[in-house]
């Protein structure tokens, strides 16, 4: 994992980022709202986050779209969890991301361990997560779009 990041850093130096590349990624912050349908059932809808106070759950949505003419491959979306928020879980309907507690090592949350004083480690919890990352294994064709999302709590 570290290796691929190093490559990314080198690539940054070699090829400065294009302001508007073929992959358009839009970040949105939403809140879950229960909505009652006419048939009496309730469903959870995502609404723009208007009023957020500590303890509230928000959903960060990353929507991507290939606006170029070429297929794109090896897509990695890395979302640092904003300061003041605690990662909770992947949002409903979203692929499960790899997470990291240091921005370097990524994996399933259960596989990560946090160093503690004295040289030992403890199991990582959602509170420890600093970065959320999705990889799209297959190339996506021009015009293809999709989205990922994760839930977080405002501290």
């Amino acid at each position: 994992m570290l290796r691929s990041l190093t490559i990314a850093a080198v690539a940054l130096g070699a090829f400065p980022a294009v302001a508007a590349g073929p992959l358009e990624v839009t970040s949105r912050v939403m809140v879950e709202a229960k909505q009652r349908a006419d048939d009496g059932s309730t469903r959870v809808a995502l609404l723009p986050a208007r009023r957020v106070v500590p303890g509230d759950r928000v959903v960060f949505v990353l929507a991507y779209r290939n606006v170029g003419r070429q297929p794109l491959s090896d897509i990695v979306l890395d979302n640092p969890v904003p300061a003041g928020l605690a990662y909770r879980a992947p949002a409903q309907g979203s692929a499960v991301p790899d997470v990291s507690i240091d921005g370097k090592t990524y994996g399933a949350l259960a596989a990560l361990r946090v160093p503690v004083a004295g040289g030992s480690t403890r199991a990582a919890t959602a509170e420890d997560v600093t970065n959320v990352r999705w990889r799209i294994d297959r190339p996506i064709a021009a015009g293809t779009q999709g989205q990922f999302a994760f839930q977080a709590i405002l501290r």
Binding site: V18, T26, V58, Y64
Partner: protein, 375 residues
């Protein structure tokens, strides 16, 4: 579309490492904090690596107003009739994600029945609310003078005192009081903020402004209407109880012949002999003083009051000395110059000795002595 210049992935990673150290037990995010979310993206096009960033999603953390008001004493304050500056103690804790002012309202009227045991039957006089400005948990008259809580930090607490005077109404037994607290705007030190008003939840959030959301509990429970949830107000109840309405006050009178002009050792009750009368006032009730004790004693017939012979003070050994260490009192009724709390006079027309004791402490005695001669 707003696109930031590329964020180097490694830089983002090191920033994340710092964050991990403070992830546990973080305080609430302060109202007004702007939260930005941006993802970094890498991909390849025909084998060429590219990087980019997402748009930035932003929101402003709103103000979550929450606080508690509790009674910070055990039971009701025990007071005596006429007591000045009697105190009930409360504690206000700010759980809002920002510093707030709090307005204080001392209340004796809106007391829901049944919250505290007993029946309220009097009101305190001049009941005021003061903040424990010096933070020692005790009301200090002249020091704790602030009448509103100024800039209480998140998660901080402060004591608030309700201070009042007990009336002298003999039937007074129990007075409930309550501290009613209203959250107010903070941000300006030494300035009393105005009461906050919650942002209408039906209105759209004006982006990049701090909405006010009331999240305070119903501090007195659903049964009682002194407070309701999410109103930006809180209330706690206490009271003043007059525990002692009377004391076990007794007066014991004794007489001792001081001299008869004949016998030096054992003086007898001969005409012309001097007799000392001793009035021993005893308060047998622990902890409660008897105040304003008045004594009057008519000099017996066929005796003559010895002018200037009244003495008041701590009692001596019975039969030997009535007053051990006392002060001589004059006979006139003008006691303006008296300062020791004891006054006395002799009325020549009614032949009455009158004495006034400001206070006889619990479990203690005061003696009043005066002399007469036998005609």
């Amino acid at each position: 579309m707003f696109v930031r210049k590329a964020i180097p992935a490694l830089l983002a990673g090191s920033a994340g490492l710092c964050f991990a150290g403070t992830a546990q037990a973080a305080p609430q995010t302060t109202a007004g904090t702007v939260i930005n979310n941006t993802a970094s993206v890498t991909y390849t096009v025909n084998g060429t690596a590219q990087s980019s960033t997402s748009t930035t999603a932003t929101f402003v953390v709103d103000r979550k107003v929450n606080f508690t008001v509790v009674t910070d004493q055990s039971g009701m304050t025990q007071v005596n009739l006429g007591q000045q500056n009697a105190v009930t103690t409360f504690k206000v804790t700010n759980l809002t994600n920002d510093a707030q002012d709090f307005l204080l309202d001392p209340d004796q009227q809106s007391i829901s029945l049944g919250i505290l045991p007993g029946t309220d039957n009097f009101d305190m006089l001049n009941l005021k609310a003061y903040v424990d400005s010096n933070g020692n948990g005790v009301y200090d008259a002249g020091v704790d003078t602030a009448t509103y809580i100024d800039e209480l930090a998140p998660d901080a607490s402060v004591a608030v005192f309700l201070v009042g005077n007990v009336p002298t109404t003999p039937t007074a037994q129990l007075a409930f009081d309550s501290l009613h607290v209203i959250v107010a705007a903070g941000g300006a030190t030494a300035t009393k903020g105005t009461a906050l008003i919650a942002t209408d939840l039906n209105l759209a959030n004006a982006d990049n402004t701090v909405d006010i959301v009331f999240a305070d509990d119903d501090s007195d429970g659903t049964l009682y209407l002194g407070d309701i949830a999410r109103n930006g107000q809180g209330r706690a109840y206490s009271g003043y109880e007059i525990g002692t309405h009377n004391v076990a006050l007794t007066v014991t009178k004794s007489a001792r012949i001081v001299s008869d002009g004949v016998n030096l050792l054992f003086p007898k009750a001969l005409p012309g002999a001097t007799v000392e009368y001793c009035l021993l006032v005893n308060n047998a009730t622990l902890l409660t003083a008897a105040t304003g004790v008045n004594l009057s004693d008519v000099v017996p017939v066929k005796t003559t009051y010895v002018p200037g012979s009244i003495s008041i003070g701590l009692p001596g050994v019975p039969g030997i000395a009535c007053v051990l260490s006392g002060s001589a009192e004059d006979d006139d009724a003008d006691d303006a110059a008296e300062s020791d709390g004891f006054t006395a006079s002799f009325d020549g027309s009614t032949k009455t000795v009158a004495a006034h004791l400001d206070s006889v402490n619990g479990a203690s005695s005061i003696a009043v002595a005066f002399k007469v001669t036998i005609n």
